[in-house]
């Protein structure tokens, strides 16, 4: 007996594969930005306190970019949530209801954490202790929010267990206090943390060697980046090896997607070691790309596992379809226009920054 209601006869607006591609793409973009605050906040705060000027400056530079990362990361996070709601509403919606209060708290906590970072950045010179403390609170909140998401994704694919989490309040409402913290959700949490640290490491190299172009900080930044990369790979590797035990049956027909998610971060680490021995601007870009591709491959593999986990309840190819091309076309046109406008904005920012620099140099 399956607990999942029939699917909306209205049907998907586009083939399931299109929705899946957009979902994975959205999650990948979200993961990069989210990883920057998930692991980056913690690491930047530690770096700032270290008795080393170069690392302190690097930590400070990461912390200052957090508002931008968070804003784009939260917005990019809407994309996979929307597509998950389109593809798997019968799983996603009830499981969020079961852990409703934790789900609601995300909004409040996110606001506090976001403002906390602004406070921390703008008050560091005025009141170091308070600003630093606020930064730590924000970092702690982000780490905690990760657990809620990890729990939700686990609960969503376990409809057989939902009845165990149903509890009612005295007023007759469903309490919504389920939190499915299990070994699997914890392992996935650390997989995300490990890979986020890898991408942070790649970003630090890219930022210092490709964008900034200053020379005096590079030697120590190089060491820091390699250290972070090794740390990230260790956390990722240990968690992923254990997690593979759980998901092995789901990936038995997808050998490539079973090993590639582990191979690519290791290749990125090898590039980082080679970079350490012989640094170059191009290499820093390649390492950053390697980290990004590692995130993408892991996102794809994760999607395959999710589909397989849900397969006893839903065969994705059986989802009804009602394809309408004109809205898809509108979406694509809007996307292209949006990218042009975004490009234009970046051009304006670049020109204005250069103009200001020239004025300052002239005076």
């Amino acid at each position: 007996m399956t607990p999942i209601p029939s699917f909306d006869p209205l049907g998907l607006p586009a083939p399931a594969v299109v929705n899946l591609v957009l979902k994975v793409f959205g999650f990948w973009v979200h993961w990069f930005f989210m990883g920057m605050w998930f692991s980056g906040m913690l690491i930047s705060l530690i770096l700032i306190r270290l008795n080393n000027e170069t690392l302190s400056i690097t930590g400070w530079r990461i912390l200052k970019t957090m508002p931008v990362f968070i804003a784009f990361g939260v917005n990019a996070g809407i994309v996979p949530l929307l597509f998950i709601q389109v593809l798997f509403p019968n799983f996603f919606y009830p499981s969020t209801i079961l852990q409703a209060w934790f789900w609601f708290t995300i909004l409040g906590f996110l606001l506090v954490a976001y403002y906390g970072i602004y406070y921390s950045i703008f008050n560091f010179e005025k009141n170091k202790l308070l600003a630093y403390g606020t930064g730590w609170i924000s970092s702690f909140i982000f780490l905690m929010l990760g657990l809620i998401f990890s729990s939700e994704m686990k609960l969503m694919v376990s409809p057989d267990s939902w009845y165990k989490y149903v509890s009612f309040g005295p007023g007759g409402t469903i309490l919504g206090i389920a939190l499915a913290i299990s070994p699997q959700s914890i392992l996935r949490y650390f997989i995300v943390f490990g890979l986020s640290t890898v991408s942070l490491s790649g970003y630090i190299l890219f930022d210092n060697y490709f964008i900034k172009g200053e020379t005096q900080l590079k030697e120590e930044v190089k060491k820091l980046s390699l250290g972070l990369m090794i740390l990230g790979i260790i956390i990722f590797g240990l968690s992923a090896l254990k997690y593979l035990g759980y998901i092995n049956p789901y990936l038995k027909d997808f050998v490539l997607w079973k090993y590639l998610p582990g191979v690519l971060p290791v290749l990125t680490l090898i590039m980082a070691i080679m970079f350490y021995l012989k640094p170059s601007k191009t290499f820093s870009l390649l390492i950053f790309l390697g980290a990004l591709i590692s995130l993408l491959v892991n996102s794809i593999s994760r999607q395959i596992v999710q589909i397989k986990e849900l397969e006893p309840f839903l065969k994705i190819k059986h989802l009804p379809l009602r394809i309408q091309l004109s809205p898809i076309l509108l979406f694509l046109i809007t996307l292209i226009i949006g990218l042009f406008v975004l490009g234009y904005l970046l051009k304006v920012y670049f020109i204005e920054t250069r103009r200001c620099r020239n004025v300052l140099q002239g005076s």
Binding site: M1, F72, W162, P170, G171, V341
Partner: protein
């Protein structure tokens, strides 16, 4: 759109002192245009839920998006956005120390935009009322809660408009932090009341003529009445099969013999489950929108008939989807709720 909004907002924030005047204007216009376009998209979605229009027959995206209340909603929301941003700018100005003449001019200028906003909200609201289906029109004229919220909105529009004319427009120097805080709070209160009107008038539907507020498709009600809710609702079936042994046969159908011999506690559990899934979206027993106090003094037979003809009892309620014995289980739950400790 959201990404461009963010990119332009961050641009204005981080490059404020670096921008030339032209760049300032360009980026600000891009920000404004894309922010308004996101209002248009949201309007298409929320207005579709209340008035699905020809989408019901065609299931065509464009009929759904550009539905009968699409344009009135855009006008109303654009007005609301102008009004609330005018009040917010005034709050900012009341704390801001600037050249007095410049400050006065800006206060006057934004207040006029605030008045334009209130006019648009009023016109959009009237337009909306003119095109909504009859079941919403009736609710606007008869449902007490909706009438209260409409009264609040109308009162606030008049009061805030008069205050802006008498105060900031004619006498900008009157604007003080306490007054501007009060105006903004009242403006925000008006927006909240407006949202309540939208949500309140849409009931009993989530999507008009398609999906009821308890997530039952409107064209499935008859089928569920015929086969029974406990046979059709898969999650309820799964849940009850775990807590009421023998309720379902091996083929997954409700065991009719068992129904004849349900204990009080089993009936209560079934009623509780029906309540949570058919009523719980909007009601609790004794909490928010609690149902038990409303049922005081109604005997069981009458209650049974009321549930059976629920959509006739109130135009905000969906029809009950289930068999007679399921209504019995629900009334059992209501009746025994006070003594539920006996069944736990």
């Amino acid at each position: 759109m959201f990404v461009i909004e963010l990119a332009s907002a961050f641009g204005l924030f981080y490059f404020w002192d670096k921008f030339s005047q032209n760049s300032h204007k360009t980026v600000a216009f891009i920000y404004a245009i894309f922010a308004w376009l996101s209002l248009v998209v949201i309007s298409g979605i929320t207005s579709f839920m209340a008035t699905s229009g020809k989408w019901i027959e065609t299931k065509n995206f464009w009929y759904g998006f550009i539905n009968p209340t699409f344009l009135p909603t855009i006008v109303t929301r654009t007005g609301g956005a102008l009004a609330i941003s005018s009040l917010y700018i005034q709050l900012h100005l009341s704390f801001y120390k600037a050249q007095e003449s410049v400050k006065k001019n800006v206060i006057k200028w934004t207040s006029r935009w605030g008045i334009v906003g209130f006019i648009l909200v009023s016109l959009g609201g009237l337009w909306w009322f003119g095109v909504v289906p009859d079941f919403i029109k009736i609710k606007v004229q008869t449902a007490t809660v909706v009438i209260i919220f409409i009264t609040i909105v109308v009162f606030l529009i008049i009061a805030l408009s008069l205050t802006l004319i008498a105060g900031p427009i004619r006498n900008p120097a009157w604007l003080s932090p306490p007054l501007s805080v009060l105006l903004l709070v009242l403006g925000a209160g008006g927006m909240v009341a407006g949202e309540f009107i939208r949500e309140g008038t849409r009931k009993p539907y989530v999507i008009e003529e398609y999906l009821y507020s308890n997530n039952i498709y409107s064209d499935r009600v008859e089928n569920i009445r015929e086969n029974g809710y406990l046979n059709e609702a898969k999650w309820v079936k799964f849940y009850l099969s775990k807590i009421v042994p023998g309720l379902y046969k091996e083929d997954g159908k409700v065991n009719e013999d068992k129904i004849e011999n349900l204990s009080d506690s089993e009936k209560y559990l079934i009623g509780e489950s029906i309540f949570h899934h058919q009523c719980g979206t909007c009601h609790t027993t004794r909490g928010y929108n609690g149902i038990l106090d409303r049922l005081k003094g109604i005997d069981r037979e009458l209650l049974h008939e009321m549930i059976k003809n629920l959509d006739g009892v109130s135009n905000a309620m969906p029809p009950f989807a289930g068999k007679d014995w399921e209504i019995d289980a629900l009334t059992e739950y209501f009746e025994k709720w006070h003594t539920k400790e006996v069944v736990k």
